[in-house]
């Protein structure tokens, strides 16, 4: 008998879809003149979605024939995705205007891509997951390519698209193998089939390989990281910020749904794979970042190393590890947002503040924002009392608790290597003389939010307890 699915569980997504269509119409009819309206509408969409998420926080369950889930994990991640993307749009506005990229299409793509992320977060069926992933990714590819006249941006978009498609292909292949063995695409049914041991484990592990490759590509873990520096570097900074922050939260949901909820009983298979990815990511990411003179590229490699740390939490396969990885993801998003936000803040008409040298003497030109960048860099390096330290602490603790001491040692040694390039940014800001004088062009809203963003990193460093507790409750 046909049952009406519980639509309430997907209310945020439906709201966002409806608003996205409205925005599309406004863009189509209002044209160039309406971009400020479109910006406002997009922010309103994200805000109202966040409000809906908070409003219906708590009860949850499966819906749409068990393909869709609403649980505390999805609530938390959705809330963060919306907040992060609101900040992304806010930070990007002045930059986009100065480069004549402030077009309605950007906002349409941003909202649709956010919708894709929300679907990924709530997907409890491999097809739904794939649907969300592709919706997000296709919008991102288009976004990178928006700067049509820029050769680097086009190249970056091409690379992103081709490598992203390969990753999707791998993921699909892995899903099909899992389907072949377990006879289902629903996460809970797969988990059941694996638990009862009805499928051939060798073939399942084969499927896991492809799933891990797909997820590795989306995260940018070594050795599937090749696209990441080029895309981060080539894309206009606003787009880089968009790609760097929220999609990682969605990718985290993907890895949790697939490996931690679907295939937890095969942990002995995927743990070793993730150990390789994590260790290589931390080493390659941190070592190669030292050689970069372009800040965006440096942050790209730093992202790779952060992904390695994040995977450390996941690979431990314990509730504690998952909540540590969740905590890491959220803190990472916050720090990345701030760091790219600083590049956007200092960029102006015809000038991209994307080289490390462009930060020279910032402490004399802009003492306040130099301090904010100092907080962000020390946090990324994992120095207490900043949030990045606790993120590292929790994931290292997670691997030590499952007796993977050597992974913890690799992690701490590479973080020392990593400290060097973060310190270099601080060095040019504080110890070098300024080369150019300039005023900030960004509006006060952005300045305030960026400051709040960085101060949040400090605040969470002094009192990390609450967020950690939330992250633990989600997986309890």
């Amino acid at each position: 008998m046909f049952q009406v699915p519980n639509m309430l569980f997907a209310l945020p997504e439906m709201l966002m879809l409806g608003m996205a269509c409205v925005i599309l119409l406004v863009v189509a009819f209002a044209g160039e003149r309406g971009t400020d309206w479109v910006y406002g509408l997009s922010q309103l969409t994200l805000l109202s979605t966040a409000v809906v998420v908070v409003w219906f926080i708590g009860d949850g369950g499966l819906t749409f024939s068990d393909t869709y889930i609403k649980d505390s994990l999805s609530d938390l991640l959705k809330l963060f995705i919306c907040i992060v993307n609101m900040l992304v749009l806010l930070y990007s506005m002045a930059y986009l205007k100065a480069r004549k990229l402030m077009q309605g299409e950007f906002f349409v793509l941003a909202v649709f891509s956010t919708l894709g992320m929300l679907i990924m977060v709530s997907a409890y069926h491999m097809l739904t997951l794939y649907l969300g992933l592709e919706l997000m990714s296709l919008c991102l590819y288009a976004m990178v390519a928006m700067h049509r006249d820029s050769a680097v941006a086009t190249e970056a978009a091409m690379k992103y698209f081709i490598l992203g498609s390969i990753a999707s292909g791998m993921l699909l292949y892995g899903m099909s193998i899992i389907y072949g063995v377990t006879g289902s695409l629903a996460i809970n049914e797969i988990a059941q089939a694996v638990a009862t041991g009805s499928g051939d484990e060798t073939i399942l592990s084969f499927g896991i390989v492809f799933l891990v490759i797909g997820v590795g590509f989306k995260f940018g873990a070594v050795p599937f990281h090749m696209w990441l520096p080029d895309v981060y570097h080539g894309a206009p900074t606003a787009m880089t910020l968009f790609i760097a922050a929220a999609p990682k939260i969605a990718a985290f949901a993907m890895i949790i749904r697939l490996l931690a909820e679907g295939l937890i009983d095969l942990q002995h298979h995927w743990q070793d794979m993730l150990v390789m990815l994590a260790v290589l990511s931390m080493i390659i990411g941190n070592v190669v970042a030292i050689a970069q003179s372009n800040l965006k590229r440096m942050l790209a490699y730093s992202t790779i190393s952060h992904v390695g740390f994040l995977l450390m939490g996941v690979l431990s396969g314990t509730q504690e590890g998952f909540s540590a990885a969740l905590f890491y993801t959220l803190i990472y998003a916050l720090m990345t947002l701030g760091a790219f936000g600083m590049i956007l803040l200092l960029s102006r008409q015809g000038f991209e503040a994307e080289n490390i040298d462009d930060f020279k003497g910032l402490s004399e030109r802009q003492p306040w924002f130099a301090l904010m960048m100092l907080i962000l860099m020390f946090s990324m390096a994992g120095i207490p009392p900043l949030a990045g330290f606790y993120a590292k602490l929790t994931v290292i603790k997670a691997v030590i608790d499952v007796d993977l001491l050597w992974v913890a040692l690799v992690a701490v040694v590479t973080s020392v290597i990593g400290a060097f390039y973060y310190l270099r940014v601080i060095k040019v800001m504080y110890f070098d003389k300024p080369v150019v004088e300039h005023k900030l062009e960004a509006g006060s809203a952005m300045q305030i939010m960026l400051s709040a963003n960085a101060l949040m990193v400090l605040g969470l460093g002094i009192l990390p307890g609450t967020l950690m507790k939330i992250c633990t409750i989600v997986f309890a």
């Binding site: 120095i383 009392p385 001491l405 310190l423 060095k427 110890f431 990390p464």
Partner: protein, 503 residues
């Protein structure tokens, strides 16, 4: 009256918030410097409250504060002091006050940030000494690097960037192993409390790895040969205040780490590996003593002499195992640990005085080359008096605090092994050689050049700054009993911990 106040929290947060306020006041307001001075003085007075209210009959932690901080992991805001940490806290507050006074009219470039950095660092260092929770300890232990990194990098000499990066990366490299060790200990003992770590049952293999991790972390801080190379660089480039804090306090955190972590947590491994640490300490005393002899830069000379003196601290801490093996009574072991502690406190004051004295000269001449000086006593008689006194104290002249610590450690070393004592005692010759030769070249003889001829003697501010230190150095030298009394119970307790095998 001090029992009710959360004295330790006040000591930590008063200078930190005071420092932030100083930054907000900015360089332009005349009130900023007096404000910083008041904050530093108030902190110092409060720290005397610790001494006044301290019960020296027990090894238990006192002035304990315990609040939940990160409940998920059972991490607490847990503070307390015993006979080891309390004197070091007082050392911290006195040194910081002197640094503020020393900076008064000397620092022209962003003075508010300079003073704020030292005030904030003071709070962090007090927190390191009083933290009883491993994560809390580590947080402050690392956080301390940030202000010091900026102080050397912003106000340092020509090669400051190299020096400060080296300093930061060296110490950071050391401390990450500490983090892994602490997390491992939590895994074993299921608690983050340092005192619970002391109870943790560990196999020799586990203890050995833990000890090596502690050794990397704290040996870099102390610094022990061969991981000492960052120190001369950092000292030479650092501004006077940076050198003072670096020598007087941050080095002590290394010694404190051995006392608080290495010895009680891994006694069996310490016993098994004591030859390693004793050899490194003796190399520091003898070899670095010779290195100091060859220096042409005043600050470098004092830096190397610091390394040699800190060698006594690590020597004193680890010869206890040999004393246990040789002597039936524990009195030699008590002497060794107390000697190490006295040496830490005394070196804190003497090195602070030496660096401040070099700062006085540098402010006038803008050079630290020994060869640029000569006959300073003719133009700066009052200053030369102080400088010669501190140099004597550094060389271990009886009657000064420098003598007490070294003498106790050497005496104890005789009970361990004659050759340890013999090698350690060479410092009496080497230390005298490099300090007195330096004194001869800088202060005595004919006036070397026109710059020296035009030197003006110390002003009132500098006089009182040096006089205060001279009084302290003399006091500890002549009457060390008050200092020894407060630490005695803690030392006894440490020795029972160390003598009981965990195996």
């Amino acid at each position: 009256m001090f029992a009710e106040l959360p004295l330790l929290s006040l000591l930590i947060w008063l200078p930190i918030f005071g420092g932030m306020l100083a930054i907000m006041l900015g360089d332009q307001r005349a009130i900023m410097k007096p404000f910083a001075l008041v904050v530093a003085a108030l902190t110092m007075l409060l720290s005397f409250g610790l001494y006044a209210g301290f019960d020296s009959s027990t090894h238990q932690m006192q002035f304990v504060e315990k609040l939940p901080w990160i409940e998920t992991f059972n991490i607490f805001y847990h503070l307390g002091v015993d006979g080891f940490s309390m004197p070091l806290i007082i050392l911290t507050t006195i040194s910081t006050l002197l640094v503020v006074v020393a900076a008064w009219e000397v620092i022209q470039h962003r003075p508010s940030q300079y003073l704020a950095a030292f005030l904030i660092m003071e709070g962090l260092m007090i927190a390191v000494f009083s933290a009883l929770d491993a994560v809390l300890f580590y947080v402050f232990f690392e956080a301390m690097l940030i202000p010091l990194f900026l102080v050397i990098g912003i106000w340092g000499g020509p090669n400051r960037v190299y020096a400060t990066l080296k300093f930061f990366l060296y110490t950071f490299f050391g401390s990450v192993f500490l983090l892994v060790a602490l997390l491992y200990l939590r895994h074993v003992s299921d608690s983050f409390a340092i005192l619970d770590f002391h109870q943790a049952g560990l196999s020799l293999n586990e203890q050995t790895w833990l000890l090596l991790a502690f050794l990397i972390a704290f040996a870099v801080k102390v610094p022990m040969w061969p991981v000492h190379t960052w120190l001369p660089d950092a000292h030479v480039e650092a501004p006077t205040g940076g050198s003072v804090i670096l020598a007087a306090i941050t080095l002590k955190i290394g010694g404190y780490g051995f006392l608080r972590f290495a010895l009680p947590i891994a006694p069996d491994a310490s016993l098994a590996l004591d030859w390693l640490i004793i050899s490194l300490s003796l190399i520091a005393v003898v070899y670095i003593g010779f290195v100091a002899l060859a220096q042409t830069d005043l600050k470098k000379l004092i830096a190397y002499s610091s390394i040699a003196h800190m060698g006594f601290v690590t020597l004193g801490l680890f010869i206890v195992f040999d004393i246990f093996a040789n002597a039936s009574t524990g009195s030699g072991a008590v002497l060794a640990i107390e000697g190490a502690m006295v040496q830490m406190i005394s070196h804190g004051f003497i090195s602070a005085a030496m660096f401040l004295a070099v700062g006085v000269l540098y402010d006038r001449m803008h050079t630290r080359e020994i060869s640029a000086y000569g006959g300073v006593v003719n133009t700066m008689p009052k200053f030369a008096g102080f400088a010669v006194f501190f140099a004597m104290a550094n060389a271990g002249l009886p009657g000064t605090s420098g003598f007490v610590g070294e003498f106790m450690v050497i005496l104890a070393a005789f009970q361990a092994n004659f050759w340890f004592a013999f090698l350690a005692a060479t410092t009496l010759i080497l230390g005298a050689a490099y300090t007195l030769w330096m004194v001869k070249r800088v202060f005595f003889g004919e006036v070397a050049n026109k710059e020296v001829q035009s030197l003006s003697d110390i002003n009132r501010r500098e006089f009182w700054m040096l006089a205060a230190l001279a009084v302290i150095v003399l006091l500890i030298g002549l009457w060390p009993a008050p200092l020894l009394d407060v630490m005695h119970a803690s030392v006894e307790h440490l020795l029972t911990q160390v003598s009981q095998s965990k195996l």
